[in-house]
Symmetry: C2
Subunit: 339 residues, 2 copies
Amino acid sequence: MSTIRDVAERAHVSTMTVSRVINRSGYISAETRARVEQAIVELGYVPNSLARSLRFKQTKTLALILTDITNPFFTTVARGVEDVASENGFNVIFCNTDESPVEEAEQLNILAQKQTDGVLLVPARSSAEPVEFLQRQGVPVVVLDRRVPGGGVDVVRCDSEQGAYDLVRLLLSLGHRRIAVLAGPQGVSTAADRVAGYRRALAEAGLAEDPRLVYFDEYTQAGGQRMTEQALAAQPQPTALFAANNFIAIGAYRFMRQAGLRVPEDVALVAFDDLPAAIVMDPFLTVAAQPAYAMGQRATELLLDRLAGSAPAGHQEIVLPIELIIRRSSGDALSSAAS
Amino acid sequence: MSTIRDVAERAHVSTMTVSRVINRSGYISAETRARVEQAIVELGYVPNSLARSLRFKQTKTLALILTDITNPFFTTVARGVEDVASENGFNVIFCNTDESPVEEAEQLNILAQKQTDGVLLVPARSSAEPVEFLQRQGVPVVVLDRRVPGGGVDVVRCDSEQGAYDLVRLLLSLGHRRIAVLAGPQGVSTAADRVAGYRRALAEAGLAEDPRLVYFDEYTQAGGQRMTEQALAAQPQPTALFAANNFIAIGAYRFMRQAGLRVPEDVALVAFDDLPAAIVMDPFLTVAAQPAYAMGQRATELLLDRLAGSAPAGHQEIVLPIELIIRRSSGDALSSAAS
DNA sequence: CTGTTAGCGCGTTCAG
DNA sequence: CTGAACGCGCTAACAG
């Protein structure tokens, strides 16, 4: 662990000269430069960017706060973030909140202390608090995937309401009339939006909403299992299920298989969030697929633009298109007898 | 962005006093403490941990270098790492190398500059260089998942050779005699070890090795497809395939499906690395499953112990057990006519 | 072309 | 119980 001073002594110059060699700033005679460079390699000197950051108030580090890196949707987002960040010389710290606002607040506090240049935030709850905290600290934020109240902040997300609407419309067009929605936590915007899209599609079709067909739980496999059990207990039984994310869909599928129900023959199933082709042997689910990688990219680009001061004034809300991918789980059109 | 000085002025004390209330060090009268604490909240003061790190030479930040966070195996490892790290007050920077030693070297250099307290490294290639670089810089390293030559370093991994051996033994016990192995890059230890395990099983069964049944390519879906195409062109055709990781297995499966071959009826398939239950609707592959989450945990615990100076002297090599999970893709015992 | 001075924000001496 | 001074490693000004 040699410092710039060690290098300076060894090369018989001042630390400033070494600094100039490293940063290619100012004029240096070829001879001194050579001497300094030699000293650097001999000592295996690596500049301490902490000291540099302290001066410049720039750490070249971003943070990505999400609920669970284990969810393939977020994994892909993270990859998009990291790719853009590293292209631009930034590192990224990642944190899992597990949807807990408490965890989130703690992480945010630490990141502020560490002088993270910017934060990409998937808010645990639909609350203005975390964003405001960051803004008070002067840390630029881009909100990812979810909406937050207030709106004085950059957001990159998809149109969950529309995606849900499309998915439910598809089911309606296949003849389904009793469709249950298995959503995430009430307080999360995507869950609320997806239920809203479901409702719009139903209303448009002139169908009354049945409260026994609307469920909120966690965005997890276990949540999906619980909601499916309840939904299928409703009489008359729903003929189709709309899972508000990939994990819920897996839980639903598992539960039905265990209950001896076939998908889509007995109950159709559609979901939000595709599973990457690379980790699926047999794509089966009909889904509203969000461009996860692009979301990560765009959000990071926007954040970096903000840091560089090159982003347009005011706050941006970038809404990326959702792709409806129809596969087998939604089944064929229902025979009229079944409806 | 207020500093400790702002707080001091506002509370009419010196910066030292503020420092003391923040760190609960030394004696402070209850009254002064209250005044300082009030100033802190009024200003929304957050200590700058950069300055602190500069003094203490401790950033409370680790780095996780892996090939691709998008691979569910590594995603799970990452989650294990982050959980242990954050429990202990550390953050984690993650970097993807895409198996490129060049990317890896660049990342390592940056991380050394950033004074990362420790590095968890999945080496891109079986080379001592990256580890030695880090050690020269005085940055503790734990190597994850793969072996590196030299050995003067802590390692947390699984026994790839044994796992491969078990998998191939299973195929042999089912009557297979022509088994192809589709491995990762030659220079990666896990690929080499898995081929070694394959060879041992074959040798033990008194079977000669056929070079047309041994392939090395990338640990990707595309690599899997390419190798499968080649392997299946061998005459007589192999009756079983051993894919050295999950992505290769997917590629193999895809290729066979496209070629109109059924798994396991026409060709059996076994693989290394399970896909997490949470992202698989229908577990199908017979696999040698590595405890990915535990690997991340153990490696991080070991690294933190090293940082605390509480790890035993010398270098540890922790080898975690592999679980053989037999599912449908390995098929039933071959009828003797088929062999 | 090169060196000196000063300061980024903090915490640990060592005095009061 | 509290404060002043110094230095962690680095670099922008300003000499020379």
